[in-house]
Symmetry: C2
């Protein structure tokens, strides 16, 4: 697998399994679809504030702030490395492939635009 | 460095550089301390909603949902691995060390409790 494809494998997993799942969790919380006592408590708090719509607009932005700091930290910190399997029994460091991990999130052909199914922030 | 210490090196970086920084970004946004036009626009939206306090309570929960899905994904996905340098020129997989990465976040002696300086969610 080529380097750019490997980077996109990581990006697609991060968007669909982390970004989209986290946003969906809060969509369901806001709508009262989650049945745990804590989720129901939060649903009532958000609902009675009258600001569900604003809240729904802000959740993707907060998730993206978290992902931005995560990627920036991976990039900067020399102790941590992330590897992706390339299909030839090798693990390739995505820090080595990318010019700037945090920069992969945004732009027209960035990970959010390419792979996320949820609101852009 | 022993395995448990390596896991905590990763946990401390994740808490201080990702969780705390993401929460702080939104504290500053809510308080109008960030000067970019987008941050000022969001500050006004949140401020005029009259729900700054609720919003500040929810931000750490949304950050933690994101981190939970991240750690769960790292744990489940066989293509991705995270390594931490152990000081002897070796990189150790944190998936191999932990019994369950997402479970490291919570509990009394979990990463949030041990290493985060921001609100617990």
């Amino acid at each position: 697998m080529r380097d750019k494809e490997l980077l996109d494998v990581f990006g697609e997993i991060l968007m669909k399994k982390v970004r989209d799942e986290a946003i969906e969790h809060w969509e369901k919380t806001t709508q009262g679809e989650l049945k745990s006592p804590e989720s129901q408590r939060l649903h009532k708090l958000i609902s009675s504030s009258g600001q569900s719509e604003l809240f729904n607009d802000l959740v993707p932005k907060i998730v993206d702030t978290t992902l931005h700091h995560l990627l920036w930290t991976f990039e900067q910190n020399e102790l941590i490395d992330i590897n992706v399997a390339n299909g030839d029994s090798e693990h390739i460091s995505i820090k080595e492939i990318s010019d700037g991990l945090a920069g992969e999130l945004y732009t027209e052909d960035g990970w959010i635009s390419l792979f996320s199914d949820k609101n852009k922030s």
